[in-house]
């Protein structure tokens, strides 16, 4: 068995899924919204990057930026449709969930209608070279995915920790009512959060499109995975999401090498079910009581 391959795969997948999971987790904890339209944003930004590379330029950073921007735009759209009209109405968490589900249904079918069922592939953004680190062979797209995901995620987390907007978002996570009293606009912060998480989805879409393709329904599986990682890590907890992403990445890489790719989902959901049964609030659920689910 090629352990280095397993490890490389595990890290790559962990990075991409971690990006998605952190996006979902952030949305939940600061807005109280489970964003089921995340898969749609994911697919949309894949198409955005593809259109950009087809029609304007295929220079790697620009394509990535285009994907991220499309994702941010999609996030803003979802926010305007599913958060702004109902965020202070009764029964918001459930209604928000259903609204995002409806957006996902509409959006995915609209993508199918517009672009057809055939999948598109993005150009290689990181070239086709290899690098050998301590005996682990990393292909360019994997290394590129790992580096860009880690860099952008740490930038985002650093920004959350230190900047004023980040403090606003974290304050809104803890107590939305008090946040409005200290002068934080719930709606504008909502747009900021959704743009940010949409951008994360765009990043993940561009990175994942290096290995897979861009298709109308390509977002569903990554979204389900990201959601399960976010829940497994404990909704609203960034460290939990990272741990969950690492565990699932390892699991996916191990399963696909040892049992075969078709068993990935089975082992993954078994793992999630077991973990949730042991810790009903996720891995980091006790550590961080930001917002009760």
């Amino acid at each position: 068995m090629n352990w280095s391959f397993v490890i490389a795969n595990a890290i790559t997948l962990a990075c991409i899924y971690g990006t998605l999971a952190i996006g979902i987790s952030l949305t939940w904890s600061s807005l109280g919204l489970v964003n089921m339209a995340y898969g749609f944003i994911f697919a949309l930004s894949g198409y955005g990057a593809w259109l950009f590379s087809q029609h304007i330029a295929s220079f790697a950073p620009l394509v990535m930026a285009a994907g991220i921007l499309t994702g941010a735009l999609g996030g803003v759209l979802v926010c305007a449709l599913a958060f702004i009209p109902i965020h202070d109405k009764p029964n918001f968490p459930l209604r928000g969930l259903i609204a995002t589900l409806a957006i996902s249904l509409i959006g995915n079918q609209a993508l199918l209608w517009q672009f057809g069922p055939r999948s598109k592939s993005l150009p290689r953004l990181f070239g086709t070279w290899n690098v050998n680190i301590f005996g682990v062979v990393l292909t360019a797209d994997k290394l590129g995915a790992i580096v860009s995901a880690i860099v952008l995620l740490s930038l985002v987390l650093l920004w959350m920790r230190s900047s004023r907007r980040g403090l606003e978002i974290r304050a809104m996570m803890m107590n939305p009512h008090a946040a409005s009293i200290v002068g934080i606009g719930v709606r504008s912060t909502g747009f900021a959060v959704m743009a940010l998480t949409g951008g994360l989805a765009g990043l993940a879409a561009v990175l994942l499109a290096q290995t897979y393709y861009v298709a109308p329904f390509s977002g569903i599986t990554p979204m389900v995975k990201g959601l399960s990682i976010a829940l497994m890590g404990g909704l609203g907890s960034v460290p939990g999401a990272v741990i969950g992403a690492v565990i699932l990445g390892i699991n996916e890489a191990l399963t696909s090498t040892m049992l075969g790719g078709q068993y990935v989902l089975i082992t993954q959901f078994l793992l999630i079910i077991v973990i949730l049964l042991i810790r009903p609030r996720g891995i980091a659920g006790i550590l961080d009581k930001a917002r009760e689910a």
């Binding site: 202070d88 004023r164 403090l167 606003e168 974290r170 304050a171 996570m173 803890m174 107590n175 009512h177 008090a178 946040a179 409005s180 009293i181 200290v182 002068g183 934080i184 606009g185 719930v186 709606r187 961080d288 009581k289 930001a290």
Partner: protein, 242 residues
């Protein structure tokens, strides 16, 4: 009173506010001048907190004009409580609400930072924090502790400190001594009295007249949603017309 010559920080004209079918504040007029410390005294259920919340745009519905630093922040509104609160707060209002609306997971320091969201206050937040620590010395040691772990008195200090961090023209303090041991409550009030208001004003709502008597510039009574002049008419039954 020589107040007429001074700048009006807050001018409330014909304010009515309430929750659903209940009208709590009835055509209320109130002026607060710069540099003034006003005590607002009344039993619970007579509309002190609703008045504060209405000024911040957080009541269920409201009607009437509220001029904060000369800007109209009140309006006829019957839904969306809190939708415009942040704009009112940016106009220079610091509301220290009843029951410590705090952010459990943030540390005391981050908490104080979160009070300074106006651009000027954000730039000066280091000096402002020092000022707060001079007012509430016990917070010095707790700067890195999450607020969720603090005791009731310490939380109150954090909540008041967060309000005082703001670059506000008007501080509304809602029942600072509520739920605290009398001694701690007194010390919190003392700290509030020690704050140098400068050009801003402070309104303190309190049920306990004795805590405020003689220490604020004027005391206004509040009864059944209406203001009752100076403190002398407070004693029930001695008012006019009975």
């Amino acid at each position: 009173m020589t107040a007429t010559a001074r700048r009006e920080v807050l001018r409330v004209d014909g304010l009515s506010a309430g929750w659903g079918p209940m009208r709590v504040i009835h055509d209320l007029d109130l002026n607060v001048y710069a540099g003034e410390r006003v005590g607002l005294v009344g039993l619970n259920g007579h509309g002190k907190s609703t008045l504060f919340l209405a000024i911040a745009g957080l009541s269920g519905w409201q009607r009437g004009s509220i001029l904060l630093e000369g800007h109209e922040v009140g309006r006829t509104r019957s839904q969306g409580p809190g939708r415009y609160t942040h704009l009112v707060v940016r106009r220079g209002l610091a509301l220290m609400p009843q029951g410590d609306e705090i952010f459990h997971g943030l540390t005391v320091e981050e908490h104080l930072d979160s009070g300074a969201f106006t651009p000027r206050a954000w730039r000066e937040r280091a000096t402002r924090k020092k000022r707060i620590l001079r007012i509430f010395p016990p917070l010095e040691k707790l700067m890195r502790t999450p607020v969720g772990r603090l005791s009731g008195g310490e939380r109150r200090m954090v909540s008041l400190g967060r309000g005082l961090m703001a670059d506000a023209g008007l501080f509304l303090v809602d029942e600072p001594s509520l739920g605290l041991a009398p001694k701690i409550g007194k010390s919190v009030i003392n700290a509030l009295m020690a704050v140098d208001l400068g050009d801003s004003a402070m309104v303190i709502a309190e049920q306990n007249v004795a805590l405020l008597e003689g220490r604020v510039d004027r005391i206004i009574g509040m009864h059944a949603g209406k203001l009752k002049g100076e403190a002398s008419v407070l004693a029930p039954g001695l008012g006019k017309g009975h």
